[in-house]
Amino acid sequence: MTGIVQDIDWLLIGPPLALAITAVVVLLADAFAGPPRSRAQALVPAALTLTGVGVSAVLGALAMGGYRDEGTRSTFCVTGALEGPAPCSIAVDQLTLVFWAIVLLGVAVVALLETADVAEGRTPQGEWNFLLLATATGAMTIAASRDLVTLLVALEVVSLPAFAMVGLRRGDRRASEASVKFFLVSVVSTAVMLMGISLVYGATGSVFLEQIDMAISAGADVRSVAVTGALLTVVGLCFKVAAVPFHMWVPDTYVGAPIAVAAYLSVVSKAAGFVGLVLVLAYALPELSTAWSPVVGVMAALTMTVGNVLALWQQHAVRLLAWSSVAQAGYMLVPFGAVAGASREDMATVLSRSAGYLAVYAVVNLGAFAVAAVVGTRFPRQRLVDYRGLVREEPLAGWALAFALVALAGLPPGVIGLLAKVLVFSSAAGPATWLAVVMAVNVAIGLVYYARWLMELLRPAEVAGASVYDVPNGVGMAIGITFTAGVVFSFLPGLLLDPVLLGVGR
């Protein structure tokens, strides 16, 4: 033991740290500036958030340079106390970088979406952006964490500010109800997850993913405890991913929360849970894949089926998106169900397809939510029929939503969505053919409700007339970013998928 504290590689914790510092800056700026006197001033917190995201992205790019040289870079390592290689709390590899990119994109778009509420004035912007950055810090940290303690704490950092964000709009009954439900389901899931962590710790003697793996490879004598513990640990993460049966909070919370928060939950929060799953299952317990892979496979099948079947019923746009995000989570989990007994290299390859799916999903789903935010400014009730004629009245938003829906459904113009589906499908075809069949059926069911919404968009509106949509600049930018990204990636899918698949899967 050399120093009082551990050695620290600042570059690696730079990206999350930048977000945390920006959070404090936003808070202080807001406190000193007082209540905003103009609409422009009310946009300052969002601008600061975007700046922070930019700084974080630059630092992440620098960290990526380091990654190129060394493969994986670690810091906060425990030295001296143990024999063998020192376990580390933080490591940055390609998986981490991919998730950092997803989180940063999500945070930027969500911050832009929130500007739609500025005019309404019921949400305190400074605090809202502070909370957004705080939870993003957690999401960034979780992708780099390599021990269960950091993972758990980071997961809580993702959750707690999100509870507040859901209920922050003043005097909104539905928002406060959504907040309570989200909170309760979350803390109970966390408690179950903690019980699981304690059992994993008891079975393997460590909380470091690397050492857990080593202990199980060496033949820990309490395998069954480790498996039970691992699956209980997964509960808290599946709650975030919105996998059945831990999904029931999703529609209620998405509908009650402001749309920007729903977008956040459906992309960034989901990504956090997802990366946690990869860490716990693939990094710590690859030896036990024969035990967890079939279980997660069944969960994937249930998740997509329940999500799709219930989405069929919806007349409410955001609730439909909520169920669709449940269904999409099911597709994302498919590769997990297809790695039973796979070697580590194969497992990395297969799971990288999940990551690829998540990246695609993030881009197009954010686009859908962005357009929903626009329509929400005119039709707060968000019925599907309110979208009638959108393509004619507001072509950018209309076509962006059409593209997003087409990509979510996996139809050809949205090639990127199609490729993502192909990726996960082909990972299951063979090792878990039954899962591939279930997925094929579900994709077919999914077409129905996406197509129904699409028809509404293309249909002429009941009352023709000039545009009365109030598209705030920020939301317009969000739509532009996601739409452009979706189209570009559809023409050049390699741009998005190559780094994910080749990098993570090596």
Partner: protein, 620 residues
């Protein structure tokens, strides 16, 4: 030469963009673009196709390739005899349709988008038939689906046009998943997406019966949807609200023909997977019969033709399923010719009368002489009258099925026998519905329906023959309809090697007798009912002699017709209406659980956690 193929694919898309762009500026310019591009496409197609007929070597060329993940995805073309024939068919029909539309769509404000979509349709079909890469094929395949959606909903003010379009979209899209997943499976299996490579490997490599059933079945699902076969057959008749020239294009040369083409293209794959062939044979046997019965009891001229397409496509699949490759492809070509003729002629009738209801037509022989002559030839070919093309190709199909039933080895004998019976019965029914439609359109005095449309008023003084631009395509199409039989007699012109003759004297004579007998019966029935709908006894009071006939024939037939229709309406439409009944029930149940009570959610969470923990503990 390979650049000509690329040009042939790109040209229609360019013309589509141009006609949209020039759009409403000048009528002459936009029409010139549409027809000129179609004409150029026709010339190019002939130039590409003719050198590759007969014994010629296929043309293969790769323009570009990507290598992102997995096997490379290429822009590659492969033109062999099959592609050449399909190119000729598609571009001939497309050119004639564009010419025809000059008259048919005159004054339609949406002509630019219409012409553009017809062009895109043609380009997509060209891509499908020439592509050597499965993904390129998929793109063309899907573009056709999208185009058909827009063309069917051309008159989107009409609710049935919208409903038909949505239905077509959903049904074909669902089936298209089969193609998508088949591509994935093939790509994984062969590490390539080149069709010629994959088919070459299958043809030479020793694959067992159990190796390739999955991709073959997936492809079967895809073509069943695309070519409107049972149980996904209902979208095609419901697609009839679209403009009539579109129906000609869809039914004769592009959309539904693509399904048959795909089977022919992937023929080595199907030959190595007997289960897929058997499925195909069963589907064909059921479809041809059901569709013919439906055609028999339809009062709408276009729906009669639509059902007949479904039924004739089933003939092609039946031929392919028993190994008669040439017979299937030739019937596809023949059907393309006479069905385009029939639809364009029907369009001419509709143009004159203003409705598609057959009861409002009748007595048109003198008023529309050119339409009468051409449509008579078309119906004759459909019914299989000597010496029109339909007679020869249908005979080739039935002869092949006959042989398969006796000594075939590809499908189970009982399936072949079922197919044979179904084919013969369907041939009889085809004669019946063709003759009925012909008589009702051109001879029966019209039933007065004053409210239907102004054009159908009893005096019908304003009835007139169609303009020249519509008549010329009709007469041009009679040429292949009359002379096409020569190709059956001398298949060496088109195909590389044909081992056996395609003319079967025995079946030909038997079928001719059967056709004549059926025609006589229908004609007598028609005369007996005073020159009205021959099925009129269904509603007329009848003397005691007819009682036996009524109980023995009419009622069972009526029941059958009702059952067929019920199958369409209640069971199969369930999917298109939103979701199947089972998902509805499941959804209702799950939705009850989503009752808003957070403690109920928590209970599910806790029980779920216990369940997965126990499951994994047991698995460990």
């Amino acid at each position: 030469m390979s650049w000509v193929v690329l040009l042939l694919v790109v040209l229609p898309f360019v013309s589509a963009v141009l006609s949209l762009w020039v759009g409403h500026r000048g009528e002459v310019a936009e029409r010139g673009i549409a027809v000129g591009a179609a004409a150029l496409g026709f010339v190019l197609a002939v130039a590409v196709a003719l050198p590759h007929l007969g014994d010629a070597e296929p043309l293969s060329h790769v323009f570009a390739a990507t290598s992102a993940v997995g096997p490379p995805i290429e822009l590659a073309f492969h033109v062999d005899q099959l592609s050449a024939l399909m190119l000729l068919l598609a571009h001939t029909v497309a050119f004639l349709v564009q010419v025809y539309s000059l008259g048919y769509m005159a004054g339609d404000p949406r002509y630019p988008s219409y012409a553009a979509l017809v062009s895109v349709f043609t380009g997509s079909m060209t891509l499908v038939v020439t592509a050597d890469d499965l993904w390129a094929l998929l793109i063309g395949w899907e573009l056709m689906g999208a185009c058909s959606y827009f063309l069917i909903s051309h008159h989107w003010e009409l609710p049935e046009a919208r409903a038909g379009a949505v239905k077509a979209f959903l049904m074909t899209r669902t089936a298209d998943l089969g193609l998508l997943f088949a591509i994935i499976v093939l790509g994984v299996r062969f590490d390539s997406y080149r069709i010629s490579t994959i088919m070459g490997e299958i043809a030479t490599g020793g694959f067992g019966r159990d190796d390739l059933w999955l991709p073959a079945l997936l492809l079967t699902a895809a073509v069943v949807g695309k070519s409107a076969q049972f149980p996904l057959h209902t979208w095609l008749p419901d697609a009839m609200p679209g403009p009539t020239p579109i129906s000609a294009l869809i039914h004769a040369a592009t959309m539904v023909a693509a399904g048959v083409f795909l089977v022919a293209r992937a023929y080595p794959l199907f030959l190595s997977a007997p289960v897929a062939l058997t499925t195909l044979a069963l589907v064909a046997a059921v479809t041809m019969f059901i569709a013919a019965v439906s055609a028999l009891f339809t009062g709408d001229l276009k729906r009669v033709l639509a059902w007949s397409t479904v039924s004739q496509l089933a003939y092609m699949f039946g031929a392919l399923a028993v190994g008669a490759y040439e017979a299937g492809v030739l019937h596809l070509l023949a059907h393309g010719a006479f069905k385009a003729l029939l639809f364009l002629a029907a369009g001419s009738v509709v143009h004159a009368v203003g409705t598609t209801s057959m009861s409002a037509m009748g007595g048109l022989r003198g008023k529309l002489p050119d339409t009468f002559i051409t449509m008579t030839i078309g119906f004759g070919a459909l019914a299989g009258v000597v010496p029109l093309v339909g007679f020869f190709t249908k005979d080739a199909v039935i002869g092949a099925v006959w042989e398969a039933a006796h000594e075939g080895h590809l499908v189970w004998p009982w399936v072949a026998w079922l197919l044979l019976v179904s084919a013969v019965v369907t041939a009889v029914l085809t004669v019946a519905y063709s003759l009925r439609a012909w008589l009702m359109v051109f001879f029966t005095p019209p039933v007065v329906e004053p409210v239907e449309t102004p054009a159908a008023t009893p005096e019908r003084a304003d009835l007139h023959e169609s303009p020249l631009s519509m008549k010329v395509p009709l007469y041009l199409l009679t040429i292949p309809t009359v002379l096409g039989g020569l190709l059956v007699a001398y298949p060496g012109v088109a195909f590389a090697e044909v081992e056996h003759t395609l003319v079967h004297p025995t079946t030909a004579v038997l079928m001719t007798l059967l056709v004549a007998a059926t025609a006589a019966v229908v004609y007598l029935l028609w005369r007996r009912h005073g020159g009205r709908d021959p099925w009129h006894p269904f509603v007329l009071p009848h003397p005691a002699v007819d009682r036996v006939y009524d109980v023995g024939v009419v009622r069972p037939v009526r029941l059958l017709a009702r059952a067929v229709r019920a199958g369409d309406r209640d069971v199969i439409d369930g999917y298109a209406d939103g979701a199947g009944a089972t998902t509805r029930g499941l959804g209702w149940l799950l939705r009850r659980a989503q009752n808003g009570n957070v403690q109920a959610y928590l209970m599910v969470v806790v029980v779920g956690a216990c369940a997965i923990a126990v499951a994994a503990g047991v698995a460990a």
